[in-house]
Structures are given as structure tokens and as C-alpha cells.
């Protein structure tokens, strides 16, 4: 299983997402968003690929403003779901 990360629009939204990830019993870790994804110096949530469906449910349940999910492929981060809210 690869690592995945979820990147949200703001720190506020990321912290809000933590509650919904916990509700879905997803094990996650707040990390600094990898530089290869973008320039912003802020937080993302890292979790296992096995929880991707639960993570999608968390986003939906919280109406979370997610920018994207990424999955680690070798040494790169592949975008697996773009922003789903305006």
C-alpha cells in the first residue's frame, strides 16, 4: 500500500478535516505539504492508501474544501482526485 496525502484549501480546513478523518477511524499524520506538489508551506494529512475510500467519505461528510488527494508513486505524487468543491 502506498502513502496518500490530502491537501485542503486552508489550515482551518485541514484542522477541520482531522475531526472527520478521526470519525472515519483513519490513521493520519499532519505533515508539511511536499514541495513537489506546490509551493505552499503548509499542512497536509498523510494516510494509507487503504483508507482512500474512507477519506473520500470524510470529505463528503464534512463538506470539506479539499484541493486534492495524492498517491505516492515511486518518488512522485500522483493527483488522484481534484478539487471537488468550488
Amino acid at each position: 500500500m502506498s502513502d496518500c496525502i490530502a491537501v485542503f484549501a486552508t489550515t482551518y480546513e485541514t484542522l477541520r478535516a482531522e475531526d472527520f478523518f478521526r470519525a472515519e477511524k483513519i490513521k493520519f499524520k499532519p505533515i508539511l505539504k511536499p514541495r513537489k506538489i506546490g509551493s505552499a508551506c503548509r499542512m497536509a494529512l498523510k494516510f494509507s492508501e487503504k483508507d482512500i475510500e474512507a477519506a473520500k467519505r470524510a470529505v463528503s461528510a464534512g463538506n470539506l474544501d479539499i484541493l486534492s488527494f495524492y498517491r505516492k508513486e515511486n518518488d512522485t505524487w500522483e493527483k488522484i482526485l481534484g478539487r471537488i468543491l468550488p
Binding site: A9, T10, T11, Y12, E13, L15, R16, P30, I31, L32, G38, S39, A40, C41, R42, M43, D65
Partner: protein, 365 residues
């Protein structure tokens, strides 16, 4: 509040929203929790639209300059603080302004607002409570009127936040501006701008947010859109502790205590010869503060007597509210304002009454 600030500075001391080391994460969580608490306290359904600012004046500036444009017409009250009046009368902004005079003995009606309206009227801007005579505006009634008329309602709650219950959704408030260091028991240098869902506000200040850094426009997402630069997280910690204190103590209990002390001060000096008191007639329209004068004695001399001889701190002059003094008839000399706090004692009030009596006797000699 002081402990919360000390803990934030000593225990965290990091810049929120930049990086994700342990200290930054704690700072982020601190601000997140404070935002949720403050939003809930003011009945704001989306906490991301609760913005921390350097103070109520900044909040008012963002609210007015971020929603109105040259040629727009606004209705204000006659009890404006300069935070509002100097902004709405700023020639660079180019607004047309109609202050609505209200006799507090009469109910406030839709017709009063309609009488001032023009096709360009966009907003009603209200001082919820006067910082001079403590007149409390019926915000619930005004909210119903502005909703009915389709006008934006901007409310300055500098004197009422934490003093009387405020619920943005129930009261029909579109934008609420609050000061942290008065009724909310926070430190100076922190304020709140709360924007109801669906209300568009342009940011006044631009800069780094730690998000969307490659984009030269400010982020469209709140709170980042309105909070560039390093936040005053110690001030936010103090404000959060202040609001928690109000929640734990009870806003009604705090109000009752301050009002009881205020009534005692009022009753103690109201019959003193040459003392004139400025306070609304109707109890329902009163905040726990009032103004007074003693004959023709300069209010500054009254304040000096209270301070130097009795250690009583008051605020004198025009209180940054010249329109209010014009309306109540105390312009241009101003008044002395008394505003008992929750931690004042009845002995403080007795001392105050004695001090004012001394002034009256002095004047008669």
C-alpha cells in the same frame, strides 16, 4: 486571560500556518479552537468566516470599505463612534450618509429607514451600543427591517460584545465587528470581524497567507482571504480565554452585576445639585455605563479629581463620538463616563459617590 497569553508566548511562540512542526501545529490548533468558540458565541454558522483583526476599528474598516463603493448610500445612527463616522465620511470612499435620529422612547420602525432610503442605499451601519450614554439599539428589530428592505446590516459591537447576548443569525446581522479588550475580557490589539455566509467582502490588506503562494491574488477561501501576515496568536489566546470566562460565568450574571453597580452609582449622584446624567430613560435600552457632568466644571477637571484624589479611572471628553455628544446635547465640552466592571466592588461605588459629592460642594463654595 493573562495566563493564556503567557502560555501561548512561553509554551508555543511559533508562527501559525507556516510549516507543521510541533509548535506551529499547537499554534494552529489554538487559533482553530478560538475561532470555533468565537463563532459559536456570536451565532455564526461557518467559523471560517470569523476573522481575527487588530481591533474593532480595523474590522469596521474592512466591513465598510470591503462592501461599499463610491456613490453608495448608507444609513447610520446618530450615536456613531469615529470608527464608523471617519470611515463613512472619508472622501476617498465617496459614500453618501444619512444618520438616523432615534428617540429611544419610541419603537424603531421600517418607515424611519424608508424615509432616508434612496435607490443607492446599500447598507445600514449601527453602533449596537453607545460608548457615551450606553444607549442600546434594538438590533433584533433593526435586523428584521434591513432583511425586509434588502439592505446589508453592519454592526459595531464594541460596547456590547460579551455584555448582551448577540446571535448573528437570529438578529439578522450580516457583518459583526467586535473589540477584544472590552466586554470580551481579552487583551487590546485583537478584534473580530464575523461575516455571515453569502455576504461578499473584499479584503483590505494583502500579503502572505502560507497558501496558494504562487498566485498573486489573495486566496478566495476564508479565513486566509482576510488574515495575511503573522497572526497575533497570543492575543487570540487571550481573547479565547476571555470568551471562555464569559461562557463559564454566564453573560446574564456578568451583566446583572455590572448593571447593579451602575444603578447604585446612578442613584447615588442623580440627586446631587448640578449633576446632569446622560443615560437612556428606558431600562431596556441601557447598557451598564453612563455619562455625567457637574455644573460647568470641565469634565477633565472632574476626571482629574476622581483619579488623583480617589484613584477612580473614568473617560472624559468627546469619547471619539462627537455626533453622539451633539445628539445628547453635551457637545463640544463632552462628559465624564462611568462604566463599572465585573470586578468592581460596592465600596468602589460608594467611593465614587462620595467623590462626586465633594465636587458639588466645592462648586457651591
Amino acid at each position: 486571560m493573562i495566563r493564556a497569553i503567557r502560555n501561548a508566548l512561553e509554551g508555543i511562540g511559533a508562527n501559525p500556518g507556516r510549516g507543521v512542526d510541533k509548535l506551529v501545529y499547537r499554534a494552529d490548533k489554538l487559533i482553530y479552537s478560538a475561532r470555533l468558540r468565537a463563532a459559536s458565541f456570536f451565532g455564526l454558522s461557518d467559523p471560517s468566516r470569523l476573522i481575527f483583526t487588530p481591533g474593532c476599528t480595523y474590522s469596521i474598516n474592512i466591513a465598510i470599505r470591503g462592501t461599499l463603493k463610491s456613490g453608495d448610500h448608507v444609513i447610520t445612527t446618530g450615536r456613531m463612534h469615529n470608527a464608523i463616522s471617519r470611515t463613512v465620511f472619508d472622501k476617498r470612499l465617496g459614500l453618501n450618509v444619512s444618520p438616523l435620529m432615534w428617540d429611544e422612547k419610541e419603537p424603531i420602525t421600517e418607515e424611519m429607514f424608508k424615509a432616508h432610503m434612496t435607490p443607492e442605499t446599500k447598507a445600514v451601519i449601527v453602533n449596537h451600543g453607545s460608548n457615551v450614554d450606553g444607549l442600546l439599539f434594538p438590533i433584533d428589530a433593526i435586523g428584521k427591517i434591513t432583511r425586509s428592505l434588502g439592505l446589508l446590516l453592519i454592526v459595531d459591537t464594541a460596547q456590547t460584545a460579551g455584555v448582551v447576548p448577540i446571535d448573528m443569525a437570529k438578529n439578522g446581522i450580516d457583518i459583526l465587528c467586535a473589540s477584544g479588550h472590552k466586554g470580551l475580557y481579552g487583551p487590546a490589539g485583537i478584534g473580530i470581524l464575523a461575516i455571515s455566509p453569502g455576504v461578499d467582502v473584499e479584503p483590505l490588506v494583502t500579503g502572505g497567507t502560507g497558501s496558494f503562494s504562487e498566485d498573486m491574488d489573495m486566496p478566495t477561501t476564508s479565513p486566509d482571504r482576510f488574515e495575511p501576515g503573522s497572526p497575533n496568536f497570543a492575543g487570540i489566546a487571550g481573547l479565547d480565554a476571555g470568551i471562555e470566562f464569559i461562557q463559564n460565568t454566564g453573560i446574564e450574571k456578568i451583566f446583572r452585576r455590572k448593571m447593579d453597580l451602575c444603578m447604585e452609582a446612578y442613584e447615588g449622584i442623580v440627586n446631587i445639585h448640578d449633576v446632569k446624567i446622560f443615560w437612556p430613560e428606558k431600562e431596556a435600552n441601557r447598557l451598564p455605563l453612563f455619562s455625567f457632568t457637574v455644573a460647568e466644571i470641565d469634565p477633565s477637571d472632574v476626571a482629574e479629581h476622581l483619579d488623583k484624589k480617589h484613584g477612580i479611572a473614568t473617560r472624559t471628553g468627546l469619547h471619539c463620538a462627537p455626533f453622539t455628544h451633539q445628539e445628547i446635547g453635551s457637545y463640544p465640552i463632552g462628559t465624564v463616563r462611568v462604566s463599572p466592571g465585573f470586578y468592581n466592588k460596592r465600596s468602589d461605588i460608594k467611593k465614587f459617590i462620595k467623590a462626586v459629592k465633594e465636587l458639588s460642594v466645592k462648586k457651591e463654595r
